[in-house]
Amino acid sequence: MVTQEKPKETLSSVTIRFVGDSGDGMQLTGTQFTNTSALFGNDTSTYPNFPAEIRAPQGTLAGVSGFQIHFSSNNIHTAGDHLDVLVAMNPAAFKTNINDLRQNGILIINEDAFSASNLKKAGFKEDEDVFSRYLNKFRIYKVPITKMTLGALDGLDMMAKAKERCKNMFALGLTYWIYSRSLDPTLEWLESKFGKKPDLFESNVRALKAGYNYGNTTEIFQNTYEVPKAKIVPGVYRNITGNQAISLGFVAASELVGKTLFIGSYPITPATEILQELSMYKNFGVKTFQAEDEIAGIGSAIGAAFAGQLAITTTSGPGIALKSEFMNLAVITELPVVIADIQRGGPSTGLPTKTEQTDLLQVLYGRNGESPIPVVAARSPSDCFLAAIEACRIAIEYMTPVVILSDTQIAIGSEPWKLPDLETLKPIHTRIHEDIDTFAPYRRNDDLARQWALPGTPGCEHTIGGLEKENITGKVNLSAEVHEEMVKIRAAKVKGIADKLPPLEVYGEQSGDLLFLGWGSTYGAIRTAADELLASGYKVGQVHLRHINPLPNDLGEIFSRFKHIVVPELNSGQLLMILRAKFLIDIKGINQVNTKPFAVSDLVSRAKELIGDK
């Protein structure tokens, strides 16, 4: 391929979003762009955006599907606030996404899709000149993508429909050219995917190259860009979504515990993929049980835990409501069950495909009685791996149900994952008990974890259940003294987990004007905001919690080192309430409940406001 030299500009970071109809293959296009960039050496972060409908009628606003990639020569932590490039395959995609494009950003549209009927479907007038108002705002490139694609495939013996379906490859090729990417990774992937279907292989390759060459040869693009490699810690990497990483984390944990993994679940967005992913691992001995509902899902997990497996159940907010009665049974029977809650927008069915952090209080307090459950949170897609292991560790070592929180953004977002050295992962110790003489179902070790005598163990026969019970013997007892004691023991056990946690890491300044305290998927935005502030000389620090219950013991001391404490959350201030009640200091929240991740710029400006004059 002869590359005509056009001026090349170097950029440090670019955010690009491909949007089109559900059937336009945008997820695939985005994934290819991501992989190519990662292989090249950029740091990347991605976030797909699915419609709530499976496949809404073509061309409608409801059917728009998108995929956003942020790639950079720096280390990045978010999928990007504002778009540098928007590739819109039809009017509906254009309409629903144009507001996210930054001033002077690049807009590439498939001119052929802006027909009268498509304009109408998107709610425009049939003859509306939809671009006129943006002429001065964006750099607009109208490309006849469909026509060019069909042209490139001329002579291939395929239906027109099938040919047209290659237009995403054209768009991909074009963006590759603009950002000076190599076609090789995608060519290889096409080979592996369509190697046995020569027609499909040929058509996709042709379209990809046509797009590339179109950029190269036409006059409309003035210049190309390059985003150099990032400084990345050496290692083996793969791209991973949160739902994949949490699944692998559970499998890894089961190896570390030395117990079979059991998952009892019921499908629900955005948690379903975990059940799907794990159902492929039967050769690892993983047992997946698609139950009749959420209740049966956790019920089976509790049964499996009683019988000695590493038991988990996965769901999202509305499913937690259904599981909470059983979560409470796990609390009082002190069984190790991990409940993964992949949060989504609420209340009620709410916004099933959108992200939110609004389940925190529900998982902490959504049960009758005093019912403490440890809660850990994952901060990014790849972090789900370690978070899952940590959840399993606490469950097994302390004999307790544990909640792990993720959310839509983490679950379906992806980032490069530096693959862990599996040897360095610490084994997880069980409380399996087989000795008749020392056995008592509620006899505890120093961590207050009770013995785990599995059905099938001779001589350790015992019955557990949901009624209040005596310590040590586990006998049902509803007396005042016993209840008081057991309420305290259950609380102390969970609280005690904090005593063995490593010290918190404070990123940035160790003391100063402002501390960001966060948890979960806000990590990337907060880190980026902290970096910006630090770069401008602000004295800010960041603590991001893995453990929300119990809170780490050193939190108060860290708070004392900063003038302002700020807790950004994608809810109305849930962790905030707990912290204010506990520390009685005027911690401030930055709260947003609008389906969107934080914009870094908002965090930065809010922080500056609080700090006032430096």
Binding site: A38, G235, G285, A296, G299, G303, L422
Partner: protein, 355 residues
Amino acid sequence: MTQTQELTKADFVSEGDVKWCPGCGDYAILSSVQTVLPTLGIPKEKFCFVSGIGCSSRFPYYMDTYGFHTIHGRAPTVASGVKMANPDLSVWVVTGDGDGLSIGANHTVHMIRRNMDLKVLLFNNRIYGLTKGQYSPTSEKGKVTKTSVYGSIDNPLNPVAFAIASGATFAARTNAANPKHMQEILKAAADHKGTAFVEILQNCNIFNDGAFAKYLDKETKAEENLILEEGKPLLFNNDTQGIVMSLEGSHPRLIVEEVNTTDTSVSITGKKFLVHDPKNEDHTLSYLISQLGVSLEGTPTAMGVLRAVRKPTYDEVLYEQEAQAKAQRGVGILKKLIYSSDTWTVTEESQAAGV
């Protein structure tokens, strides 16, 4: 404590006091279960009793085995988890008509259709006992209880029919007041591989006394009980009456006919009495028999094993699939799994190479 020792009833009696009301039918069930278990050749530690909530569900506390008193209506789910985790165990579900058929009916259905290898004892006293006397899904229409002051307006469910229609591979009915029959049935259920559903008619002498009196009264006993025996014609009332299939008006239905005095397999009108055939792959006859006495007036109620067919159980197939997957794909190796996907390597050099 180990298999070598001979087990006795006493081995299954737990320490604490039994706390049902004096006179409650639950005592007889407990005693029968404790009598049957030692005869099964299963080591004591392999038994696990899982219950929901209700008077009936206190059962596990009184057994000296592994036990789990879970939450209302959900025992089948926990028991399924136990069984899937360790198929080596003999797992029993103890539930009531409220627990298993009201709040928990969904789990009952799905457990049964999956044919999870569980023994299910549903204590049917046609009342909510533990909450002190409200009508249940098996209470008769018109029944006056604390919450149906003007008479219940729900149509009752027939537990055994419900189980068979849900695909039960084993379904039986017995009466707690008849320990000998009950023990036979319990043994048959224990021996069955797959979900073994047993409805046990149980008197709640406090809130629904005499609900099943007609099956026990000397006067009515013979005509109200149809004792099932495999391969035997469906005769009752001291073999003076029996069940035939009527096709009158081209509508198939079971009806009662008098026995021809000389030949007890044939009715007075010459029709053949149906022969009990619980092992038939087809569940038609079992289902029809389950309706007797309950939804068909003027017929006796079938007591015994209505259905017992061997089909693959959920847990069996689960483990088979696992074995196959291991055979086909090789036993999974974590490192491979993690490193298998599209990966790339960043080295000091590739870094150094710059753009």
